[in-house]
């Protein structure tokens, strides 16, 4: 409950933030991922550079693709008509993060920088082919979400780099959903499944699937996608996809004593079916 001592700098611009950050420093946006671990002294950065007041990092724009500033809150994303239209799964996932108070101040950038595998937005970002836009002292770069999430609490961010925004392709012609099996205590995902389906009449033309919660990072599930694509999403296809998704995540499983890996793996199959039902329902 007592964060460690640190140097605090409030940055007015991205350049200022990049100029201020030191090797032992971290960026602070909403603080809703970082402060909880600092309160338990599980993390003790020596410096925080507050980017919460940088206007250019906040907001949602929809010009062909969806662009979401890093310090946009989960509540803003969940409530955004543009996000609901262009990536319903992301709106849903951001609406399921924590509780209302957490969503009011927690940000998408802080969330993905923290890279908690049981958090909800990363799973949708991976499923929907999002791109993470990063700026560092050496310039800007963009990384696909699938490559951005490297491992448990590990991302492709280098020291001193800052997430500026996340962009997603327009998915308004998709059937898109995120379904979560929440841990009863933390309400983080025991398993979370995001599906994004392009339908051609009754046939699924293509499918994007990702799983989080059950895994050390959000995992794109090619086997499940293949099982769904080209099918009419009939029982046989769904069962095949549920089997395939278990194999897809087999190398990345995470679990704990209460909800072991094997259980989460099985539930990924169950919740894949439920996600498809939610997307098409």
């Amino acid at each position: 409950m007592w964060p460690n001592k640190f140097e605090y700098t409030r940055a007015g611009s991205v350049d200022e933030a990049l100029g201020a950050i030191s090797d032992e420093g971290k960026f602070l946006a909403g603080g809703h991922s970082l402060l909880p671990v600092m309160k338990l002294r599980l993390d003790a950065p020596e410096q925080l550079v507050d980017i919460g007041g940088i206007d250019s990092l906040r907001g949602i724009s929809a010009n062909g693709e969806l662009s979401i500033g890093a310090t946009t809150t989960h509540a803003e994303i969940a409530a955004s008509a543009d996000v609901q239209a262009m990536c319903a799964g992301l709106a849903s996932a951001c609406g399921q993060v924590g509780d209302q108070a957490v969503r009011n101040f927690g940000t998408i950038g802080g969330n993905i920088a923290h890279a908690d595998p049981a958090s909800d937005p990363p799973t949708v970002l991976v499923a929907c082919g999002a791109t993470v836009h990063i700026q560092g002292a050496g310039g800007a770069r963009s990384v696909g979400a699938e490559d951005f999430f490297v491992d448990l609490f590990e991302t492709a961010l280098d020291d001193g780099e800052l997430i500026t925004s996340v962009s997603l392709p327009n998915c308004s012609d998709c059937q898109c959903a995120y379904v979560k099996f929440p841990h009863p205590a933390s309400r983080y995902a025991i398993v979370g499944v995001a599906v994004c389906l392009k339908m051609d009449g009754d046939t699924c033309a293509s499918a994007d699937v990702a799983v989080g919660g059950a895994t050390v990072k959000a995992v794109k599930c090619a086997g499940a996608e293949a099982a769904l694509a080209g099918s009419t999403l009939d029982d046989a296809a769904l069962s095949a996809a549920a089997e395939a998704v278990k194999a897809d995540i087999g190398d990345w499983l995470a679990g704990d004593i209460a909800y072991p890996e094997a259980y989460r793996q099985q539930m990924a199959g169950v919740f894949l079916k439920r996600a498809v039902a939610a997307a098409t329902g």
């Binding site: 007592w2 964060p3 640190f6 809703h32 909880p36 338990l40 507050d50 209302q100 108070a101």
Partner: protein, 154 residues
């Protein structure tokens, strides 16, 4: 570091250690002890306040992040000497026992009922996942919130 925060309509300027959590700022610096601390993982909601009109768990924000903000705590919820309708409803419906979760519960519920007039019982129960009560079994809290949400819909 110098911060200026308006709390319950009163401007406060203080020099704080940057690591000071907003809840400690309120409780220790301003002696506004209505916001309680019931956990250290942002789960229980006993510290819930409104920051610029939005519900916030004040244990999950640094005081320096609230610089320039307008904060309302349970002590500032009543207006003109009258209890806020949510305070009245908790009292009338026996929505509290030990009272420790109550300030946060009322702050969260007051914002919810205002934003969600006519909310269903299921919606209320789902919303309250961010606020934990050990005494009441939630039954009468839900009743209290429903009464205000219903009144807001008429």
């Amino acid at each position: 570091m110098q911060v200026a925060i308006t709390v319950n309509g009163v401007d406060h300027e203080r020099d704080v250690d940057p690591r000071t959590l907003l809840v400690h700022f309120l409780r220790e610096e301003l002696d506004l002890t209505g916001a309680k601390i019931g956990c250290d993982t942002s789960q229980c909601g006993a510290c819930t306040v409104h920051l610029d009109g939005k519900v916030l768990k004040s244990c999950t924000l640094l005081a320096v992040q609230a610089d320039g903000a307008d904060v309302t705590t349970i002590e500032g919820l009543a207006e003109g000497g009258e209890h806020h309708p949510m305070q009245t409803s908790f009292w009338e419906n026996h929505g509290l026992q030990c009272g420790y979760c109550t300030p946060g519960m009322i702050m969260a519920s007051a914002a919810f009922a205002q934003d969600n007039p006519g909310a269903s019982e299921d919606e209320i129960r789902h919303y309250l996942e961010g606020n934990i009560c050990r005494c009441t079994g939630y039954h009468n809290i839900v009743k209290a919130v429903k009464q205000v949400a219903d009144a807001a819909a008429t």
